[in-house]
Amino acid sequence: MDEIVRFENVGLRYGAGTETLADLNFTLFPGSFYFLTGASGAGKTSLLKLLYLSQRPSRGVIRLFGEDAVTMPRERLPGFRRRIGVVFQDFRLVPHLSAFDNIALPLRVAGVREKDLEIPVTEMLEWVGLGDRASARPATLSGGEQQRVAIARAVIGRPEILVADEPTGNVDPEMAMRLLQLFEALNTLGTTIVVATHDIHLLSKIPGAQMMRLEKGMLADPTGSLRFPPLSKDQLQ
């Protein structure tokens, strides 16, 4: 596959207001790592919503996994969503489920049998440093722990695209590095990563990562050495 995501003249308008996103044209390539930056209110979360199929654009074309995601029948969307892992800015953990059950949720939704859940979920809990908090409910976890559960839930199904909205916002620098290493490890395995952040320091932590910068709902030329528009890994090499 040459491309995993392609936006063509995409615009998004909520209600009758002005466009939150306008004239977005870009292509994401499989196995690449992207940072999406921009000031608060620039439209990062809205762009991610289009990526993880929570929203349809008001105009334009979005091609996802080679198919038109805008005109795709609603019944087919769940199958596509299972190929995308999402770390929400506000985590969106199910409050009455334990950390284990929250992380297992994507696998259960995908129909994985109970006996096949135990090992991967436990391993994932260990990986994010929450091996001893498997039965803890989100309300009893700290902000950072909740974020790690949210990340574990997003990656447990080995998604083809991982979309993360400010994933390091609530964790200490050490944990932020560990999470980025997890993302990088996933990226090495072929997952396309899109991380929205306004932490400019993160950008230098992943060599080869590319940046997309949003300004008032439109893609803008990035500053510094990072490139725009994004290039594929091959082009980068």
């Binding site: 993880y52 199929l53 929570s54 929203q55 349809r56 609603r74 019944e75 969307l77 769940p78 199958g79 596509f80 969503r81 299972r82 999402v86 969106r92 953990l93 199910v94 409050p95 009455h96 489920l97 059950d101 297992a104 949720l105 994507p106 259960r108 939704v109 995908a110 109970e114 839930r153």
Partner: protein, 298 residues
């Protein structure tokens, strides 16, 4: 069917709610209780109409109206003799005067009426089958020369207005069952919407993780079906207890039509099926409500 109710523990945790803790099972219990009573009334009346109609449609009464008791007695005896010889007649019974007096005693008292009022002689006929109007006319023609003041009345004629009234009650009972089914459906819709509102965030998350509408609606429909079944069984037990009490009282009355108001085994079967039907109604309603609501989100 039991597999359907074996909700996996993680599903129960996903949309938690304790059994019989919300109002839904109790609302359904009341609906099913009333439905059971309305259905039982309709079915029992159907049975009563059937019994009385079968019994009376092949019966007739001959009245011999004659003021002179001696002539009346002779005419009655001759008429009975003639009737016994007819192939259409299975049984002829000439009612003794004491029995006739006993029949009118509730209205006219216990005085020695035969001396004061010229009561007609009555002959009760049981026919081999339901007779046609032409056959009744032929009976009248046969009896006319023997007893000129005779009248032949099919017994079904007496009961026709009562049957018509009971049929009206049956329609009312059916209407009540339909209204209660609608009310149950409405209660389920409200309950399903309320549950959806309560769990909006969980549903949104499951949706974004790739959960299908069917997966999400199954969580609700199974829970609502189970609530409906539990409520329905409570309603059935309550309704059955009331039916039993009423049947005891009706039996104690010991009066013809009223005594025949009882339920067949198949009527009990229908009544027992009401909670199951209620459960399916609740399940389908919940499913349609949840699917309809989910269609509004992407």
């Amino acid at each position: 069917m039991f597999k359907f109710f074996a909700i996996p523990a993680y599903d129960r945790r996903l949309i938690p709610e304790g059994r019989l803790s919300g109002p839904m099972p109790w609302v359904i219990a009341i609906m099913i209780f009333l439905t059971v009573l309305a259905a039982a009334a309709g079915l029992a009346m159907n049975r009563a109409i059937g019994d009385v109609s079968d019994e009376l449609s092949s019966r007739a009464t001959v009245q011999i109206i004659e003021a002179n008791p001696e002539i009346r007695g002779r005419q009655a005896a001759a008429a009975a003799e003639r009737l016994r010889a007819m192939p259409l007649i299975e049984e002829v019974r000439l009612l003794p005067p004491e029995e006739i007096e006993a029949l009118i005693e509730p209205w006219l008292g216990t005085q020695d009426l035969a001396d004061d009022i010229p009561l007609p002689a009555l002959i009760d006929l049981k026919l081999v089958r339901v007779a046609t109007q032409a056959e009744y006319q032929s009976l009248r023609s046969v009896l006319q020369p023997i007893a000129p003041g005779s009248r032949v009345e099919p017994s079904s004629g007496y009961i026709a207005p009562v049957i018509s009234l009971v049929r009206s009650f049956q329609w009312i009972a059916l209407g009540l069952v339909c209204l209660l089914a609608l009310a149950t459906g409405a209660a389920v819709i409200i309950s399903a919407r309320s549950a959806l509102n309560t769990h909006t965030e969980t549903i949104a998350v499951v949706h974004l993780l790739g959960g299908t509408d069917q997966q999400i609606s199954r969580l609700f429909q199974r829970r609502i079906a189970l609530d409906a079944l539990l409520g329905g069984l409570i309603g059935l037990v309550g309704g059955t207890a009331i039916i039993w009490l009423i049947s005891v009282q009706l039996t104690a009355l010991g009066s013809g039509l009223v005594q025949s108001v009882r339920l067949d085994w198949w009527s009990w079967l229908i009544i027992a099926a009401i909670p199951i039907l209620g459960m399916f109604l609740a399940m389908v309603t919940a499913r349609l409500t949840v699917l309809g609501a989910l269609k509004k989100i992407l």
